[in-house]
């Protein structure tokens, strides 16, 4: 198993900069997700690690080996990197049986027939496909094909596994199941995993650390908990979970003034260094307390949606609309006047 170090990676496609200033150190055996909206550069980065795309500048180091360095004119071909890869559309070869698909990397390594046989049997049982060896891919379901792809990527004992949105073609229930299976496989094998996804729930459940990306740049690299609880910027706060953004003005070292069109409210918050004047206050729906009388800010319930375990409110505070989530014990009907208190807020620059 190996560490992966990406140092100052930049990738241009013609005039378009797909990825820039990408620097991340991934530890041995770590599970790291690249998370971001489509077109943010996450797949491009993955393909550069795999060796399918060449960085415009920057270095890629896997374990002790420098795999790609523009400055030193080094570029290892994909087949020289000992990386396992699982593709979004599985990429299971339709003209080979399940057995032949999984055995292919061993065949390339010229492993003896009986060793191949044993290893394939083992990995078939590892991914729960015992007895499927002689089938052809078109006889398998999507989930089974994805297992074949996983087994094929794992059989060569790769130092690193790259997974490119491997679950996005599966249905919701299977997707949830496969999350845990992939996590289990990693625990059993100890392989370093880099996982590309646009699904925040997927990244949250599986990752040790998440690299949040947008428009080619890294926004934040942290554990799922840190990213949710301490988003580094407006983009991360908005992309991970739900949040309300309200324009405000910094008036002292721990207070902002919130104007709602009809009046203004003072809110205590931590003001990060470098922010002054106009700013954006971010408050998550579950961090707003709602009560009939007790609170600083007055509002009117405009819509309630019953979600079973909780109620999703829209509350008008002047011209500002806030989204609030609260358990279903006490219900505030539409049109009723309520009072709000912010339990936890973040301040970002405009």
């Amino acid at each position: 198993m190996a560490t992966v170090r990406l140092i100052g990676i930049r990738k241009e496609f013609g005039d378009v900069v797909a990825v820039d200033q990408f620097t991340v150190d991934i530890a041995d055996g770590e599970f790291v997700s690249f998370l971001g909206p489509s077109g943010c550069g996450k797949t491009t980065t993955l393909r550069m690690i795999a060796g399918f795309d060449m960085p415009t500048s920057g270095d890629i180091v896997i374990g002790d080996a420098l795999m790609s360095s523009v400055e030193r004119n080094i570029f290892a071909a994909p087949e020289e990197r000992n990386i396992g890869m699982v593709f979004q559309n599985y990429a299971v070869w339709p003209h080979m049986t399940v057995f032949d698909n999984i055995a292919y990397p061993l065949k390339i390594k010229k492993e003896k027939r009986n060793i191949r046989q044993n290893k394939v049997e083992q990995s078939l049982s590892l991914v729960g496909l015992e007895g499927f060896g002689e089938r052809y891919p078109h006889q398998l379901s999507g989930g089974q094909q994805q297992r074949v792809a996983l087994a094929r990527a794992l059989i060569m004992n790769p130092e690193v596994m790259l997974l490119d949105e491997p679950l996005s073609n599966l249905d919701a229930k299977l997707r949830e199941e496969m999350r845990f299976e992939i996590k289990d496989l990693q625990k059993k094998t100890g392989v370093t995993i880099i996982y590309v996804t646009h699904d925040q729930a997927e990244a949250m459940v599986m990752s040790d650390r998440i690299v949040v990306m947008n428009a080619g740049y890294i926004q934040q690299v942290d554990s799922p908990k840190e990213i949710y609880e301490n988003p580094a910027n407006k983009f991360v706060a908005n992309f991970i979970g739900l949040t309300n953004f309200v324009e405000c003005e910094v008036i002292s070292e721990d207070t902002v003034l919130l104007r709602d069109g009809t009046g203004s409210h003072e809110v205590k918050t931590t003001i990060p260094p470098g922010i002054g004047g106009k700013a954006i206050l971010s408050v998550r729906p579950e961090h707003i307390e709602i009560a009939a009388e007790d609170g600083d800010i007055k509002g009117v319930v405009t819509r309630t949606v019953y979600l079973g375990n909780m109620i999703d409110y829209r509350i008008a505070v002047g011209t500002v609309e806030l989204r609030v989530e609260k358990d279903a014990e006490e219900v505030f009907p539409e049109g009723s006047e309520v009072r709000l208190r912010f339990k936890k807020t973040f301040l970002f620059s405009m």
């Binding site: 087949e79 559309n89 990429a91 003209h95 390339i108």
Partner: protein
């Protein structure tokens, strides 16, 4: 259902089955295996069968050899201008093979061909560089006009193939060439054989090339042999022609079955759903050499022969020196305004093509609708019958028409324009059914259902919803029929009468009789109409059809 079915039975099933009946019946009406005897006892018949087989197989070999590398170059490398080349490599597909044969005759005929004359002058030799009027001459010209079948199918497969299939193999540790051998080639193989099959059938059924090149060198194939027997006339000739036709059908049917058998286990799709970034091979220092190679190929195989036809059409007489004072438009004036025979044949072809294209668009659309949209029993038979006349050689269809409509069964259309009209419509029906069917499949059923819910009846729905939505398919159907009919030769040459010559027949007769300048002028007109028609079709259908 009833009307198109009856129509197809009358003009397709009945004539074609007559060929088999004719082949196994003696003059007295008893059952025999005479057709076998007639082939194997007459040496020249047997030779023509063998020539058909070997020439077609060699053509398949060379077209695969040409088509696959070209397809790879334009889809998978960083060669300059590859999009432009992709269009250019398809051009031979649009050029009628018999016009190609004429063009190559101008270049490589043993005594008067430009290249041979130049070669013999250069080395003061009396032996030509290459005698086109030979076995290999037929193979050469066929290969150059049929390789687009392989090129189109293979390029399509390489373009649609999911690149991650190859990337997965790279990640598994195999190098570029190993990936080509283990993954790419096996996945493209079905497309190669599909292209090869089309070439084989096209080569077996072709009449123009062996008639204009082979006959001169006494090389006969089944189609030219059948032509010979029809011209020799009488019951005997017709019987011989029918017997040879049976072999022609069997040959192409066997090829079809062989391909089915090969594909039986390969029921896989390699088409990816998402947008793709194909893995381009960087040619590096070979980039420019490959580019130059492609340019030379285009110049040698397309520019030179076509230029040659245009040049000769503009000369005062065939064989005079190429100088400004020898250029003239007299040939065009002659064929278009002066010579009654060509004027009549142009008029005939236009009349026939306009009428037949319109008929087949209407009937073909109905058949396509029945096949795609209904669950009527027998619609598969309808599909089979509508595509059959194009899957069998044109020569065979023509023999069927002669047998069915020359008076023996109460209808005598022989030597009239009607027999040509029926034959043309039947022959190109498949195009209309396919293109309208493809457009119909794009139109989701719910669009029609929405019209029904809104209160429109079946006919109103058909007129207001279906027809506008499949318009590109309808236009394509018309053009795809009209353009090949305008210059049709294989069927016409067996069915035309004194009053019903067509353009194809006129070009063929000019060339056969040695009026090369008139042949060239008429052929140039045909080429202009074809290219203009293709351009027009592409514009009207918004690029959905045409090249």
């Amino acid at each position: 259902m009833g009307v198109p079915a009856l129509l197809l039975i009358l003009v397709v099933a009945f004539p074609i089955s007559l060929i088999f009946v004719q082949g196994i019946l003696s003059e007295e009406g008893t059952l025999t295996l005479g057709f076998l005897q007639r082939i194997f006892e007459v040496r020249s018949n047997y030779m023509s069968l063998m020539n058909t087989l070997t020439i077609s197989l060699l053509t398949v070999f060379f077209t695969v050899l040409i088509g696959c590398p070209l397809a790879w170059l334009v889809t998978r490398t960083d060669m300059p201008l590859k999009g432009f080349f992709k269009t250019l490599f398809i051009i031979p597909y649009m050029i009628p093979p018999f016009i190609g044969a004429i063009a190559w005759g101008f270049l490589l005929s043993p005594r008067t061909g430009f290249i041979n004359k130049w070669f013999m002058g250069l080395f003061d030799s009396t032996i030509p560089l290459f005698n086109l009027y030979s076995y290999w001459g037929v193979v050469l010209v066929m290969s150059l006009y049929f390789y687009p079948y392989v090129f189109i199918t293979v390029a399509g497969a390489l373009e649609r193939m999911d690149p991650s299939l190859e990337e997965a193999a790279r990640s598994s540790g195999s190098g570029r060439f190993r990936v080509a051998r283990d993954i790419t080639l096996p996945l493209v193989a079905p497309s190669i054989t599909a292209g090869a099959l089309l070439v084989f059938i096209a080569a077996c059924s072709n009449f123009g090339i062996p008639a204009l090149i082979g006959t001169e060198g006494r090389i006969y194939v089944l189609t030219t042999r059948i032509f010979y027997y029809i011209y020799s006339g009488g019951f005997e000739g017709l019987q011989m022609a029918s017997s040879l036709s049976i072999f022609l059908v069997i040959t192409s049917a066997l090829a079809l079955l062989a391909n089915r058998w090969y594909l039986r286990k390969k029921q896989f799709t390699i088409i990816a759903g998402k947008s793709m970034r194909p893995n381009l091979v960087l040619l590096g220092k070979y980039r420019i050499p490959f580019f130059i190679g492609c340019c030379l190929f285009i110049i040698a195989t397309m520019v030179a022969p076509l230029l040659c036809i245009v040049l000769i059409s503009l000369l005062k007489a065939y064989g005079v020196a190429i100088e400004w004072k020898n250029f003239t438009l007299a040939n065009y004036k002659f064929i278009l305004f002066e010579y009654e025979l060509t004027r009549a044949s142009i008029w005939n072809s236009i009349k026939l093509s306009l009428t037949a294209a319109t008929v087949l668009t209407v009937v073909g659309s109905l058949i396509a609708y029945i096949i795609v949209r209904t669950k009527l029993t027998g619609r598969r038979i309808l599909e089979f019958l509508s595509t059959l006349p194009y899957s069998i050689p044109g020569t065979v269809l023509a023999i069927g028409m002669i047998l069915a409509f020359s008076g023996k069964f109460g209808i005598n259309l022989y030597n009239t324009i009607w027999i040509l009209l029926i034959a043309y419509t039947a022959r190109y029906m498949a195009f209309a059914v396919k293109s309208v069917g493809a457009s119909l499949e794009q139109v989701h059923m719910s669009l029609e259902e929405a019209a029904r819910i809104s209160g429109a009846g079946w006919t109103k729905t058909f007129r207001d919803i279906v027809v506008p939505l499949v318009r590109p398919g309808l236009i394509a159907a018309w053009f795809l029929g009209f353009m090949p009919m305008l210059r049709e030769l294989t069927v016409s040459v067996l069915l035309f009468g004194p009053e019903t010559r067509t353009i194809g027949v006129a070009v063929y007769e000019f060339q056969d009789a040695g009026y090369y300048d008139s042949a060239a002028a008429l052929a140039t007109c045909v080429l202009i109409v074809i290219f203009a028609g293709n351009f027009l079709m592409k514009r009207i259908t918004g690029g959905a059809f045409g090249f």
